[in-house]
Amino acid sequence: MNKIPNRQVICDVLMEQASENKDIVVACSDSRGSASLALFADAFPKQFVEVGIAEQNLVSISAGLASCGKRVFAASPACFLSSRSLEQAKVDVAYSNTNVTLIGISGGVSYGALGMTHHSAQDIAAMSSLPNMRVYLPSDRLQTKHLMEALCKDNKPAYVRVGRNPVEDVYEEGNVPFEMDRATVLSEGNDVAIIACGEMVHPAKEAGRLLEEKGIHATVLDMYCVKPIDKAAVVKAATNAKVVITVEEHTYIGGLGTMVDQIVCSECPKKVINLGLPDSPVITGKSQEVFDYYGLNGEGIAKKAEELLSK
């Protein structure tokens, strides 16, 4: 099991880039520890802004900094960043088109037993609905590195969600296929298409492996770019498959699943099942316990695929 959480990789990339690019600024809302950015704050005090527990301030101040030439990365727990400061994200970042990347840390149900206040099971829906906002959920530490390096080089608003805990590697060191805003195809098969994002990519890949053992061939897509979604990849995967399954650590309303539904319905109609979290506060538990309870693991996804194919 990999021991490095994605948030740690974000700090590593930002430190690397900040030493070369003095316009890079990291802003936190008493979140430097939970974002693994304390090292950055210590190493680059002149490129670090602390606003205290004030997410609205965090996002607006970041936008102001960006409008004056700074390349700003604002990190705060995804639950607060995507709701408390949603209007600042809408107006000051997305609408004003400022060069700010919002980093939602400890996303989804990472905070486990802390409860619904600390869960962000709505952030994909909220952020994706803002015109001009891009939404990324990298699947593992290796892809996170590529994504962050790409974001450091561009100048458009974005929201990145990562979890709190280390996750299993989806890719192998030195072999991480990555193209900006293009889904990564993990396997190809013509029975079922499994499209996942973020921490759900690893179980989706595992489901593909379990299905293959039973002679069921799955296309598995890592749709880290939830918005702009890779429409061509969705159409291709869905066209070649009998059924489509989406998997996300998010309410099944308004997230990746909904976007895939819209594409498949209009381009290549067939049955799509959206796996995700319920439209209610999730059960108390650690991430993996919660995922297992809702069938968001390799076995659960594979079982759902078998059920659908046997109908």
Binding site: V25, K46, Q47, V49, V51, G52, A54, Q56, N57, S60, I61, S62, A63, G64, L65, A66, S67, C68, G69, K70, E87, Q88, V91, D92, Y95, S96, N97, T98
Partner: protein, 273 residues
């Protein structure tokens, strides 16, 4: 330049603009005009041809609904052709009812209240990081002060010791539902901002000389942001609009238009307020 005369000339443009478009926030436009004129015609280093100059002064109209005032100033100063304003509020126009940074001269979109101060703090902070000489100005409304994010900003600006930031409150004491003090009382504003460690100047906000002096004083201050409490008259310049909450966004009739322009012409002839 006689700034009071300029303000009254632009008040005429604003009223005409709102009459033509059949919409706009006339009361706040007229109260804020002297503040904006003092900034744009005397205080700020902004040049229509050099909006990419990193050392230009930064301005945010946080009370974005007073955009008609800003439009008439930007048009008068050549940020865009005056004829562009013929499209104001019309189908497909970029000249909408709130500031839009697709328009030359406008730094940031605003309109949702309570955003301008924190955004201005980011701009001022960037100036500090770069040891740049530019100043950042933000103009807020008094009704806007009920937004919690304003006070997040109040806290941060003094924490960061932003002496390159000057905020102005257009204290016209009226908002859409009536008196600000009835809707949500703000007294004592001077004490409130001083409690947040701002340097506060309490002045007549329709007096361009008082405004000039206040902006100059703010430039000399070190280690703290300045708040100018600009006590204004909503609807300033037109007797039948002044201090009437129902003129928040009322459109003048033909007779009201003629009457308003006549009153302002008389003030201009007299060379003052």
């Amino acid at each position: 330049m006689n700034l009071s005369v300029k303000a009254n000339e632009l008040r005429k443009d604003v009223i005409q603009l709102i009459y033509d478009a059949k919409g706009g926030h006339i009361g706040g436009d007229l109260s804020v005009m002297d503040i904006l004129v003092t900034l744009y015609y005397e205080q700020m280093n902004v040049d229509p041809a050099k909006m990419d100059d990193p050392n230009r002064d930064r301005f945010i109209l946080s009370k974005g609904h007073s955009v008609e005032s800003l439009y008439t100033i930007l048009a008068d100063k050549g940020f865009f052709p005056k004829e562009d304003l013929d499209t104001y509020s019309q189908f497909g126009s970029k000249y909408i009812g709130h500031p839009n940074n697709k328009i030359n001269g406008i730094e940031m979109n605003s309109g949702s209240l309570g955003h301008g101060l924190p955004v201005a703090i980011g701009m001022a902070l960037a100036g500090k990081m770069d040891n740049a000489s530019y100043r950042t100005y933000v103009v807020m409304g008094d009704g806007e002060l009920a937004e919690g994010s304003v006070w997040e900003g109040a806290m941060a600006a003094s924490h960061f010791k932003l002496d390159n930031l000057c905020a102005v409150i257009d204290r016209n004491r009226l908002q859409i539902s009536g008196s600000t003090e009835d809707v949500m009382a703000h007294e004592d504003l001077k004490k409130r901002w001083e409690a947040f460690n701002w340097y506060v100047l309490d002045i007549d906000g329709n007096d361009t000389e008082a405004l000039s002096a206040a902006f100059e004083e703010a430039k000399e201050l070190k280690g703290r942001p300045t708040m100018i409490l600009a006590n204004t008259t909503k609807g300033c310049g037109v007797s039948f609009i002044e201090n009437r909450a129902n003129w928040h966004h009322k459109v003048p009739t033909d007779a009201e238009l003629a009457g308003a322009l006549k009153e302002l012409d008389q003030k201009i002839l007299k060379g003052g307020r």
